[in-house]
């Protein structure tokens, strides 16, 4: 559920509903926030709709649930801090805050850029400070979560090996040679499950493989020293 929240929020943020009537500052800042998100942000900044206590709590809940990849609490509106908030408003504000944080992290926006958007949504200085604090605190974790979205080749995370002595088979007596069984554990696309690629090697083949891996390591070291 947490994963779907993320993709939903990203699509919201990227909904380039460019309404030139909204003013040139959207394009200037190059953060493509849709109309819905901008509306939600304006509601978030408005202390009539979202009282101060609720705002702080909501900020914390939004940022933590994205970073920890936890699903959103369906009974959020039942909390006493949100008693005075209309449910539809709460939903829109939740989504808008999440979209802003994610879009800013994705584009590596600095504090000034984010403050500018908040000022244009008529946030009070106090609320701007609070949101910026949360943004700075969670920016790296947000970027880390975003970096895992996307397609990858199977990513090798571990290697297991086993050395057998091949004595004979049903066609041939006295085969008599050592055989290595190598298990490469791979992870696909940030899921927790691993798949295994198994290969067998004779001594010569393993020496060839290790030689090539050593070359790759040396290549890396040379690049790292540049």
């Amino acid at each position: 559920m947490g994963f779907y929240l993320l993709t939903y929020l990203l699509t919201l943020a990227n909904d380039t509903d460019v309404d030139y009537g909204r003013g040139p500052w959207i394009r200037k800042l190059r953060m493509d926030l849709s109309e819905d998100v901008m509306e939600g942000l304006q509601l978030a900044g408005d202390s009539v709709h979202i009282p101060d206590q609720s705002f702080l709590l909501l900020l914390r809940i939004v940022s933590e649930s994205i970073v920890d990849r936890r699903p959103a609490d369906p009974h959020l509106s039942a909390k006493k801090e949100f008693g005075s908030v209309d449910r539809g408003t709460l939903k829109q504000v939740y989504a808008a805050l999440g979209a802003l944080l994610l879009e800013a992290a994705k584009l590596d926006k600095d504090v000034a850029a984010v403050s500018q958007v908040l000022e244009d949504c008529k946030f009070s200085q106090e609320r701007i400070k609070q949101l910026i604090a949360v943004y700075q605190q969670h920016k790296q974790p947000l970027r880390s979560v975003l970096s895992k979205i996307g397609s990858n080749l199977p990513h090798v995370v571990d290697v297991d090996w086993r050395l057998d002595y091949y004595i004979k088979n049903n066609n041939l007596e006295k085969v008599s040679r050592p055989v290595f069984l190598i298990d490469l554990k791979t992870r696909v696309n940030a899921s927790e499950e691993t798949e295994t690629v198994q290969i067998a090697c004779t001594q010569d083949q393993l020496q060839d493989l290790v030689g090539k891996l050593r070359d790759a390591c040396k290549g890396l070291e040379r690049v790292a020293q540049l």
Partner: protein, 198 residues
Amino acid sequence: MLLILGDEHKQHLEYLCSVSLDVVQEFCRLSVEFLMKGTNAKIYNSAAQKLGVEAIIIQKAIEGLMHLFLESSKLLLNEIDFRDSVKAAGFSDELQSELLRCYLENQADIRRIQLDISMGLSHYRDLEWRLDVKLASRSLRHQVEPVVTMKLHVKDSGKEETRLLQTDPVNLVHMTRTLEEALQELNSAHCRRICRNF
């Protein structure tokens, strides 16, 4: 170790006792060729016509030879054992020498084929690698993430496959160290003792 030939097997090979040496040489050559490349029924018919016997007898003789060579290679019979096994089947000395010569010449190739058709696991053939740096994706800009992409070539009973994998520098170094340890293990006293005794 002796290879005991079954009665039926001996019967099939009996035909060889009644023909001249160069015919036996030809049959030996044919049987090895059939082991390498597969049988060819037309040869049986043409040989049958030339020698004036039924094709089936030629076929049984050649197949008997193929079986003899296969079993001897499987057990890795040395010269003496091979001679003794063949002598027990009732071949003359001349014939024995001829069969022995053919066996020794082709033993390595026959064993190689037997190994190829044996149950095997996907064997490593080659590894290609390259270093990339991930700069951005749709979901995140301004990244600097090094990625090592690898193409692993494996061969599984004749079929070749390639697998695309990736890893990061830390895991690459970990992989290299772990596999170096594996290689070292082969030189340990324990492994050398076992390998020597078999």
